[in-house]
């Protein structure tokens, strides 16, 4: 997703405007006002830096945790073509994680620290990945709906005020949009397949539709961080605006797939598809750790990280030894 930040406010109880640096603040405000980019060496308010680090880290973590539900299907892909596509997609996600951790590093964060924050639960990842990918159709539904929602969220971040994040997002969005088309094409193939395949398709859409809408975060009146993020040019549209954009884009696509969306209230009003009420209790429960896979996702990441420690240590020791020898 992964750009939005649904955690507590970053600047609670902090004065984000250093009184002694008024000139720098003026320059910062002018850059924002002119829709210019803030670069790593520029002065920036502490709250801006902190918000960005947390948002970029959450986005990076989401890419990395997001490798699991789909990676889970690589060895079982039903055809070799699908296996190759899925392998390449999950590889792209690792690549996105890398660009994003690098963007966070330009703000002074260390990748190791951020990983530590992820596995100790101090930083979040998109809670969509706490839902299980239980059938092959889920791989398509994740591509179509989850990546689709991610793109709607992320395209505006290509114009984010922080340069390195904006530039990373341009490349990520190109790849995400490819993934979304691949997911749709996977589902389209199922829609033209056997009865069993069509049942699998409808079941996956039924399960992923509402969680995808939740990816945009709480409704605007319950999203305390939005105003500050918009003022800083980190966020360009509100959660509800983006959610509406996604629904409008997706409903006609569901029609092409011949699937129904599990929302009896869905109706076209003034050229917009209006959805029924979202179950925010479910959203909050998953955020609290009550999703099907919260524990499993973090355990998986922790195991890979812990089991790999000796390998990373060896690489560091080897590099040091050979650097010394070369000096």
């Amino acid at each position: 997703m992964y750009g939005n930040d649904f955690g507590p406010s970053a600047n609670e109880g902090e004065d984000v405007r250093p009184i002694d640096d008024a000139a720098a603040q003026v320059r910062f405000d002018a850059l924002l006002a002119d829709d210019e980019r803030i670069e790593p060496r520029d002065w920036m308010p502490a709250g801006y830096r902190k918000t960005l680090i947390r948002q970029i880290a959450q986005h990076a973590h989401s890419e990395i945790i997001g490798m699991q539900p789909e990676g889970n299907w690589i060895t079982r892909a039903p055809s070799l073509r699908r296996k190759a596509i899925l392998l390449a997609k999950v590889q792209d996600e690792a690549g996105h994680g890398l660009y994003l951790y690098s963007a966070a590093e330009t703000l002074g964060a260390e990748r190791d620290e951020l990983t530590e924050m992820l596995i100790t639960g101090r930083q979040r990842y998109s809670s969509i990945f706490n839902y299980p990918a239980v059938t092959w159709a889920d791989v398509g539904a994740i591509g179509w709906l989850v990546d689709g929602a991610a793109i709607v969220n992320q395209v505006p971040i290509c114009r984010c005020s922080y340069g390195p994040y904006a530039r990373a997002m341009i490349r990520i969005c190109k790849e995400e949009s490819f993934h979304q088309r691949q997911g749709f094409e996977l589902l389209l193939t199922l829609s033209r397949g056997t009865d069993h395949q069509r049942t699998m398709l409808q079941d996956a859409v039924d399960r992923w539709w509402w969680p995808s809408l939740m990816m945009f975060g709480p409704p605007d009146d319950a999203s305390p961080n939005t105003a500050q993020s918009m003022a800083w040019g980190i966020k360009r549209h509100t959660n509800d605006e983006l959610r509406q954009r996604f629904v409008d884009m997706t409903v006609p696509q569901a029609d092409v797939l011949g699937v129904s969306l599990p929302d009896p209230d869905l109706e076209l009003v003034d050229d917009h598809w209006r959805h029924g009420p979202i179950d925010w209790d479910e959203f909050n429960a998953v955020l609290r750790g009550e999703g099907a896979c919260n524990r499993q996702r973090i355990e998986h990441r922790t195991t890979a990280h812990t089991d790999g420690a000796w390998v990373r240590d060896a690489a560091a020791a080897y590099a040091e030894k050979h650097q010394r020898a070369a000096a």
Binding site: L87, G193, A317, K321
Partner: protein, 247 residues
């Protein structure tokens, strides 16, 4: 031994190696390695697909890449056992990947002049990819061998586990007719070069050439390790559960 069996054996080497390597994705010691292993698995899977399709054409019975990958039983797979060995710890995977890639590179270098045009074309592409795979493997063998005490032990352990399956790589299984026709070379002709390269890198990495008993092998005759059945069960179950479906 006919050309179909040769191409299918080469295809199975790649398919099974790719399947194993893909198990690492989202489990690697660092993100860069997730990317690298997925990349190597993708190259290898790509080679498998072209070779399976080619085998299907030679056979002329209408079987495509997926029929051959998903609907054959274990005894019909003729990959070398080295390709199917379980990942184990990272040192074991690197040992397998490195030995396999070095051996594959010598094969495909030889096949660049194959009289089978498809094999020659696959060879041209594969040698470029395999040079990178070998390089990646060698770098890790050096880093782990000459890294920390722990990594040295694990790298040596990985080599010791995989080494019993090396002899099989050079066992002659291709027909003399195919060698005479210039389709392929005899696997035994690759042995000296491979062993020389391995000895060189093992030495540089401060490791020792394993002194371990060789196992009987038999992959080319469809005799596999016990882990192969599980690999195939996982890989094939979707296709077999939905006969005739298109994905």
């Amino acid at each position: 031994m006919n050309r179909f069996a040769l191409v299918l054996g080469l295809a199975d080497d790649a398919l099974i190696a790719a399947q194993r390597l893909a198990e690492w994705v989202a489990n690697a010691p660092e993100l860069e390695e997730d990317v690298a292993l997925a990349n190597i698995a993708l190259d290898t899977l790509g080679r498998a697909r072209v070779l399976l399709a080619h085998a299907g054409e030679i056979e002329g019975a209408g079987r495509n890449e997926d029929d051959l990958a998903m609907l054959r039983d274990e005894r019909e797979f003729t990959n070398v056992q080295l390709a199917e060995l379980e990942n184990g710890h990272f040192g074991t995977t690197i040992a397998r990947l490195w030995l396999y890639s070095t051996w594959q590179l010598t094969w495909w270098e030889a096949l660049t002049s194959s009289t089978d045009e498809t094999l020659a074309a696959v060879a041209q592409k594969s040698i470029k990819e395999l040079r990178y795979h070998v390089d990646h493997g060698e770098r890790w063998v050096r880093r782990l061998g000459d890294g920390t005490e722990v990594s040295h032990e694990r790298m040596q352990d990985g080599l010791d586990r995989v080494w019993p399956h090396v002899a099989e790589l050079f066992t002659n299984w291709v027909g003399t007719d195919l060698i005479e026709q210039g389709v392929t070379v005899a696997p035994a002709t690759l042995e000296a070069r491979c062993r020389e390269r391995w000895a060189h890198v093992i030495n540089e990495a401060t490791l020792s050439t394993p002194q371990v008993p060789t196992v009987p092998g038999g992959g080319r005759r469809g005799i596999h390790t016990e882990s192969m059945g599980y690999l195939l069960a996982e890989m094939q179950h979707m296709a077999r559960s939905h006969p005739g479906a298109t994905w």
